[in-house]
Symmetry: C2
Subunit: 382 residues, 2 copies
């Protein structure tokens, strides 16, 4: 933790809420109870109308800002944007972030204990959708007595959830902030996810999802899946800038199968540290939810999907993002404009690929701050 950072939310802790009622999932299953891990930053005002829900990306968690201890070297995943006087200004707003349903950082997921069997769910956990993850977040918000969100914001998969939130609960959402996202995963995105999952499922230690009590975990498969993911989060230019063809701790090729290049070393490191914080089954479930996300098919057309939304939108994309490229954002913008919704769009020029939404803070900060300040003029102001 950095000392004397006046713009930090400081020490925070993850809290837990249990949804006792079963929730009807999109696959027809009634599922519960569900524990939701969440963090909050700032204060809920008396009118409970200053609430912003932040939603994390594929492998994120509820820890969006601040530090868990004084020794904590890393702040939350969007710390640069959340804090006093930051874009999501905690002097004004009450910011909530939850760990996704099906995840492995405190919210009920396949690694959680099934109270009916006293064993981890494993593959008996239901396959869920982005809509389901939003239902779970809504139940948490209800428990606070919150009746309307000032804003819901998310990047990448978090953006899918934010969109779905505005569609599922049109009267509940004043504004939506979408960053580096899409209204439907591309076939290429599905392909990368499929190979990642195949990598896990092919690992004998995966054992059909039953590995929680085993000595060996499917770490090799999960690590490989993460390496594939990381290639898609960067882009060729970002890789050139970051690694080039530079060798790792050597001047000449080794002529063996050890790591030769820095880019290999980076990916292997990312794979290795990932297995310590993520569950292989959660990776399967969450990527499947992302694959299934397709607003056009679900609602007949993208226009139909957004037809009942009442929120004001801010949509941001990054020029070098080839996983969720700007044209996907522009399609959403066009649809919303066609429907007469208020929508601001910003394509940020960045060489960082999809990862830009976790790196390009200066530009994001400005547009988000300005957007949030102007929400009050929105047509559905109550």
């Amino acid at each position: 933790m950095q000392k004397e950072d006046k713009n930090s939310v400081g020490l925070v802790e993850t809290k837990y809420y249990e949804i006792k009622e079963k929730i009807k999932l999109e696959n027809g299953v009634d599922f519960g109870p569900i524990t939701v891990a969440y963090e909050t930053y700032g204060n809920l005002n008396e009118e409970k109308n200053n609430v912003i829900l932040l939603i994390h990306a594929l492998t994120g968690d509820a820890h969006a800002a601040g530090y868990h201890s004084k020794e904590d070297a890393h702040a939350g995943w969007w710390d640069e944007l959340v804090g006093p006087e930051k874009a999501f200004d905690t002097n004004k707003y009450f910011v909530i972030c939850t760990n996704i349903f099906g995840g492995c950082s405190g919210t009920t997921g396949p690694s959680s204990i099934n109270p009916e069997t006293n064993k981890p769910y494993g593959l008996s956990f239901p396959v869920f959708t982005i809509e389901d993850t939003v239902k779970v977040q809504k139940a948490l918000l209800d428990s606070f007595g919150i009746t309307k969100l000032y804003s819901v914001a998310g990047g990448s998969m978090g953006g899918m959830e934010a969109m779905q939130f505005a569609i599922s609960y049109p009267d509940y959402v004043k504004s939506v902030i979408l960053t580096a996202t899409t209204s439907r995963l591309s076939p290429q995105g599905i392909a990368f996810n499929a190979v990642g999952r195949n990598s896990i499922i092919s690992d004998p230690a995966w054992n059909n999802g039953n590995y929680y009590e085993a000595e060996e975990k499917p770490n090799r498969g999960l690590s490989n899946a993460r390496m594939i993911g990381h290639i898609t989060y960067l882009c060729e230019d970002a890789m050139y800038n970051k690694f080039g063809r530079r060798l790792q701790d050597k001047d000449h090729y080794d002529f063996n199968f050890d790591i030769d290049f820095q880019v290999e070393s980076y990916l292997q490191h990312q794979g290795q540290i990932f297995v310590d914080r993520f569950d292989a089954n959660s990776y399967l479930y969450i990527t499947k939810a992302v694959d299934y996300f397709d607003l056009s098919t679900k609602y007949g057309s993208l226009q139909n999907a957004f037809s009942k939304t009442k929120a004001k939108f801010l949509i941001t994309s990054f020029s070098s993002d080839w996983l969720f490229p700007p044209k996907h954002s522009k399609e959403i913008v066009k649809t919303l404009m066609h429907l007469g919704r208020e929508v601001s769009y910003c394509e940020i020029d960045s060489p960082c690929g999809h990862d830009a939404f976790l790196l390009e803070y200066e530009k994001q900060s400005k547009v988000i701050k300005s957007f949030l300040t102007n929400i009050k003029g929105v047509q559905n102001e109550q």
Copy 2:
């Protein structure tokens, strides 16, 4: 085999030549003997000056054209371009194609028997480079008494070898045809190869390369590596055109981890059929050779690399190829022009991604035919 195709080379067979002398590899090892699997199409003329060497891509083989039997359903990998009156006109030219050194389709590789141990080489096979693979092909050509190539042509990795051939043996090469290739693999390309190799090495059945006598082969790892490869051979638009988000044999999501989408099915099928024809260790070695390919670093600069070449060049790239994108080809073109070499460049507009060099035959055929016809006017004509 299709009947009455006047433009087919018809029935062909793979032949084998043994290089008895050891060859000095780039890593310092003297290696031999080496068996080279090769095919030829057309007739070697008396002057032996009508020879074209074709070089296959990553997982190709010596079977570039024609059929191995009357029942053979599939022709060789560049059959559309090789045959009587085709681009590589076998009425005029004597076309040779070899299986790469280190491969698994007849040429000595890690799956071959080491005569000193009577066991497969496995990881005792030397790590080699693109330059080494070219030396092996040169030795075969020498055995024919060929003193000069009319042309050397290759796509993708084959293009790397063709370039290296012109650089290693500047007086031996009249012309070079490069298709969808690069003078150095990009960090992104290295990254994809690294993950593919990691997938194989992580498969317990790989067993440090000793699996030839085992019941279980590292098929899961190899299959996964192939799936990753196939994503890079297509492109997002090609995937949209080919698969969209269409489901495979179903109308609704299954809510399980079986295959849902056509693109998943395609990749899995490609992975599964690959393991029947390819050796996991060969995949490791050949991708490593590709990773190591970097003419600028090897020769100090790209200009230095090409400074001694005397050949005329035809370079073709494809607009949607993101693995070996047009800008990589253009860099080679610029360098050759700066050196005063004769060079023709053609960027073919195609939605097929890197795979285009195995699909876009009409356009390729025209430019190759015209280029070959005009070789005789080249400055280094003897």
